[in-house]
Symmetry: C2
Subunit: 204 residues, 2 copies
């Protein structure tokens, strides 16, 4: 018997720095798998099936939905997106960790189906900093920025549903906190039933 890996679920407003933190986690813990989503949208130039997404048809996706084959899913602009349960659980059962960088709606679906997940919310230290970061990207119009800020305000109401909050005031510190969360969870007694049993047996 082997202890299960962690299912890490990382959410937070656009501009909070989730992506950078997730990349740092993958570098630090090479046995963290990024889950690949399934989608019914057309693949874009350069996207590879099975690497960027699993591309599939509406009909197949809806069949899988019927079979409850997704940890979470959403329909955005007529296209489905979803996280297939099977591959996630296969990794976890092998003792590897899986990371999902998903929005709050998705995270809450995952929490319902797998409350043992580790739910991390990344938050910018203040509205001013978030605004500055969104502007700094130079990709969004004023209108889009205003929309993102208003969405961020609403999204903050969900922090209490998560296990951990990382205030991203400094990227280096925030990354250290994320790494600490993974390392600490790996020491959690609840997650080390088999390991503890083995140690206890050794002393018999």
């Amino acid at each position: 018997m082997k202890d299960k890996g962690l299912l890490l679920v990382v959410s937070g407003p656009s501009g909070a720095g989730k992506g950078t933190i997730c990349n740092a986690l993958r570098e630090k813990f090479p046995n963290i798998h990024y889950s690949i989503s399934m989608t019914t949208r057309q693949s874009r130039t350069g996207e590879v099936d099975g690497t960027d997404y699993y591309f599939t048809t509406n009909r197949h996706f809806e069949e899988l939905l019927q079979e409850d084959a997704f940890l979470e899913h959403a329909k955005v602009y007529d296209h489905y997106y979803g996280t297939p349960k099977k591959s996630v659980f296969a990794h976890i059962d092998e003792g590897n960790h899986v990371m999902l960088e998903i929005d709050i709606q998705g995270a809450m679906q995952v929490k319902k189906k797998y409350p043992q997940g580790v739910f991390i919310y990344v938050v910018p230290p203040s509205k001013a900093v978030l605004e500055e970061r969104l502007r700094g990207r130079k990709t969004d119009s004023e209108e889009v920025i205003a929309g993102r800020l208003s969405k961020a305000r609403q999204e903050l109401d969900w922090i209490q549903q998560y296990d951990y909050v990382i205030v991203n005031d400094d990227l280096h510190e925030a990354t250290a906190r994320a790494e600490a969360i993974v390392l600490a969870e790996m020491c959690s007694v609840d997650r080390n039933g088999c390991r503890i049993q083995q140690i206890q047996n050794m002393y018999q």
Copy 2:
């Protein structure tokens, strides 16, 4: 309003490396306070009242016991030892962390009175390693070593009552895990009610 500090409770068999890990934690987190125990035994040469212990009389200790003034206490060879509640809670209320390096009986008393504590169990990776470490100290007779090993075996039954288990296979790694636990707990949503409220308010 301010979020409370952590009450870290570190236990584990003699020879597990608790002391070294606790010292490393204090170095890394300078706002961790070591709780000073109260005792009715005589002070030894060099021991300073209020630094090494609070030395007191049997009568005073028993009065305090009546007032439920201890987080945990024990009587060893006719002498009382105890952790005064008041100073521990004063630090925690100020947002500072307090560390107790105590035996399992003490830790279980603390857990009853303050289940929000962070309970860490340090365990040697195997009986052979523990034996080697105990012998390496060159302070204990064979009889004492045998006694410690047999006690360690019994004490391992208590791991499941703790929140975290640190397998001390490598002191550097074990210390990193302990630091990660403190850092992760500092990010726990349950421990950051005030901080989260402040952030949410900032976005209004």
